[in-house]
């Protein structure tokens, strides 16, 4: 039998052809490889959320192998001696086992919790970027809506996960959640009773939360994240204005290789930071809290950071109870407003915001170029107002700790929060608005008069004036292009290039680097001493 010779040189081409004959992937693959992505640090914030979500899925799957979602009462018999012999739920006992009796279980638990915090933080920071740069405008309203929903679904994922270990802190949180549901007019008791299968806490809530936390909510998150990314892919990323960048093109790097490599590296960086956090900083040490008992709580029990704003709103709410005197009488408890109505408003308003803004501006155009926050002072100021509202609420969520650490009266903290919630946002609006206008004005000044050089010149008649380096030719004011205006001589190439090498330069660049779009700046032929004449 003759042995067939394998030609190694043509093998990849041949194999490629065989695959292509069957699957027909070459053309789509080419267009994916060639897809251009614009580059800016702020475009990577959403990726932090995506990557921490992947870490969440991986660590979470590990945790499910050991966690027992049951409220069945057991007596703890694990290695953590201080709790031995204590009656507790199987959920709490298995969480303790995960921390003490599963080798490496604690680092996984802590990675899971830390990545959840990073996930929510990244979502918020990413949303702020989208908001302040106007990236949600047509045609990207749908992705804005999906993003806002992702925050609330992430919130639910966080809350259900936080409740699972059934420790004293999470049980208290669950009880507050039941009180929130109870407060809903008409259906409150029915809703609560249906979710808890009877009176709080019942014996089934942990297994219901478990299936929601490990299947239903993640499935929803995966589905929405997929649509979110697919839309980014389809609609192509927005870009900052700049040389060569228009509303109808994308300027950047092709998907492969540099963009992909950067993403891979960034994923590793996010995972690495989460691992370091999980190792170095203890989070949710449930063994110190003890099992949940309805009559036990400790002071300074704060929820995870992204829930604190609701805790704060609950604390600040005055005790305004509405009694309805029909029949036996009905009640709308005060907790209903800050925990049901407020989140309802906070969900709906952002969803509608792109449409409201477009309508007010009578704007039906497609926008692929981002706006600098200073160029849209109303929106930026509105955003600052929202952020300050959120911050006042979040700080109020920890007002007992602040009162304790700084020796302030607790009631004074509550009142400060109540008043602050009303007056800080308008102040933030006004201040931000003025700052935006100031920055705008400075941009125009530099475009008209040039960059400050730091050189003071004295004229023969004794007057001093500062020398400006004009940006345009013949002292003509340049039009504003919606992008960074150079404000320092360094940005114009006045500073020499950085040389690599510790003792002596490894390589000397051939010439001063020239940023694209700017003509090279020639050094002045000679420096003239400024002489003073006495």
């Amino acid at each position: 039998m003759k042995r067939r010779k394998i030609d190694l040189k043509t093998l990849p081409a041949k194999a490629g052809n065989e695959v292509e004959d069957r699957l027909g992937v070459a053309t789509p693959l080419r267009s994916i490889i060639n897809k251009v992505f614009p580059d800016h640090w702020s475009f990577l914030l959403g990726e932090i959320a995506l990557f921490s979500f992947i870490v969440l899925l991986l660590t979470g799957t590990f945790l499910t192998l050991f966690f027992e979602p049951s409220l069945k009462e057991v007596t703890y018999d694990g290695s953590y001696t201080p709790l031995r012999g204590v009656h507790m739920s199987a959920a709490y006992a298995s969480s303790l086992d995960l921390s003490f009796d599963v080798r490496g279980g604690l680092v996984m638990r802590q990675m899971h919790h830390w990545s959840a915090l990073v996930f929510m933080a990244a979502i918020i920071v990413h949303m702020l970027r989208i908001f302040f740069t106007g990236a949600y405008r047509k045609p990207r309203e749908v992705n804005w809506i999906i993003g806002s929903l992702l925050f609330w679904i992430g919130f639910l994922a966080g809350f259900t996960g936080y409740s699972l270990p059934d420790d004293a802190l999470s049980g208290t949180g669950l009880r507050i959640a039941s009180a929130i549901m109870l407060s809903i007019p008409l259906i409150g008791t029915w809703l609560t009773s249906s979710i808890f299968n009877g009176e709080f806490p019942g014996d089934i809530i942990i297994s219901r939360f478990f299936i929601a936390h490990v299947l239903l909510i993640p499935a929803l998150l995966v589905a929405l994240i997929s649509v979110h990314l697919a839309l980014v892919f389809k609609q192509k990323h927005t870009q900052w204005p700049g040389p060569g960048r228009t509303n109808t093109n994308v300027v950047g790097e092709r998907f492969f290789p540099r963009y992909t490599i950067k993403q891979a590296g960034f994923f590793m960086a996010v995972a690495g930071v989460i691992a370091v956090l999980a190792g170095a900083l203890q989070i949710n040490p449930i063994w110190l809290f003890g099992p949940y008992e309805a009559g036990v709580v400790s002071a300074a029990s704060q929820p995870d950071w992204y829930v604190m704003f609701l805790d704060g709103s609950t604390r600040l709410m005055p005790a305004w109870q509405i009694n309805i005197g029909i029949g036996n009488g009905y009640v709308i408890p005060p907790i209903f407003w800050p925990t049901v109505v407020l989140p309802g408003i906070l969900t709906t308003l952002p969803l509608l915001y792109p449409f409201i803004e477009a309508r007010l501006n009578k704007d039906n155009k497609i926008h692929n170029l981002l706006q600098r926050p200073r160029d849209v002072p109303q929106r930026t100021a509105l955003g600052a107002m929202a952020v300050s509202f959120f911050l006042v609420l979040t700080l109020s969520g920890g007002n007992d700790v602040i009162a304790d650490k700084f020796n302030i009266s607790l009631n004074a903290m509550t009142w400060a929060g109540r008043i602050g919630l009303l007056i800080v946002p308008p102040i933030a609006y006004w201040v931000t608005y003025r700052i935006c206008l100031g920055l705008q004005q400075h941009d125009r000044e530099v475009l008209a008069h040039g960059v400050e050089t730091g050189i003071i010149r004295r004229s023969p008649d004794g007057r001093f004036y500062e020398v400006h380096q004009p940006l345009g030719h013949d002292h003509e004011a340049l039009p504003y292009a919606g992008w960074v205006v150079p404000k320092k001589m360094n940005r114009l190439g006045a500073l020499g290039p950085a040389l690599k090498g510790f003792f002596r330069p490894l390589e000397r660049p051939a010439e001063a680097p020239v940023s694209p779009g700017h003509p090279p700046v020639e050094a002045a032929p000679e420096r003239r001493e400024i002489e003073s004449k006495h």
Partner: protein, 378 residues
Amino acid sequence: MTVQTTGSNGNGHGSSVPEEIDYDDPRTTRFEKVKAAARQDGVDIVHYEPQFPERGSRLEKRMSRSVAFMFLLVGLFGTAFVVLYIVWPWRYEQGDVMMKYYTPLLGATLGLALLFLAFAILTWGKKLLPKEVSIQDRHDGGAPEGDRRAVGQTLAYMVEELGVKRRPLLGLAAAAGLAPVAVVVAAPLVGGLIKNPHADNQMFTTGWSPIKEPNGGTRLVRLTRDDGTPIRPADVSAGGQMTVFPGIPEGATNAHADSPTLLIHLRPDDAAVARANNVKGTGHDKFDRSDFMYGDYIAYSKICTHAGCPASLYEQQTNRLLCPCHQSQFLITDNAKPVFGPASRSLPQLPLDVDEEGYFVARSDYQATVGPDFWERP
């Protein structure tokens, strides 16, 4: 060796038909083929500049050495992780110091391995690969008018063909037939989950309601500690307080999450004020509490009427109870009425008595509703 191209004549990148390129022509470089392929996707590689003008320069060598070094560090920390995972003592022993470093060491080695991997990849991509600027056209605004019309007409035609307009009966019958199917899908979910909150009057009863004896009489429930032992008045000193649970099976567990109660032994002058206020009532509820106290002892539900946390921080000086969750404050000497914070309702008061053996009992269940408020609370 900077490659500068202007694309297809510099205007309308890629919009013109890309020129054919002979992929077998040995005279064109591979990069030219890559550029031709990119143009087929409307992408112009307008700037492609190697990081190192000279191949194999000192700077390039140094850069690749540092990437290689970082990869070696990844291996080092990865190995350290595995070794520590296996050999480091990890089991919990009280007072053991070594075991405390197990999790931090795992996190640090794993994190450093991942971070060096990140730096290695990023340095490779950002410092060794050529810089490029590519321009791609967007094709915004969806399909052209013709395509839109085509799809619209096709859909409209299909709807017409179904003929629901001409045959209204079909539409009605389909709607009538499908509506119950939707209910069929929802029924098991809703029907299985729904639970009457007022079965057994559960919203208004706690573990303190007197126990029905088999012989028809009732027995009052004793106040007990969490281990089930009953309490005599002498067990709580003046100014002191104690969390008590109903003396029934599982009375101290979460099965009776509405029952934990705070028993307080007031100082005589405070007790007099509390008793007087008990007689006066709070003004906003209609319960007669005039005989709820036993001597100087008073008992209130520990479950906050705001959100259900245990209102358990008792401030002896001011006789206030503080709920640590949302800082509602209740004045013990005045029917535990809310004096600050978001709570709007007094803590329910438990009517106290002492049985013939000298132990505290609850004379009846709470009269006010225990726990967070809800719509149909009368």
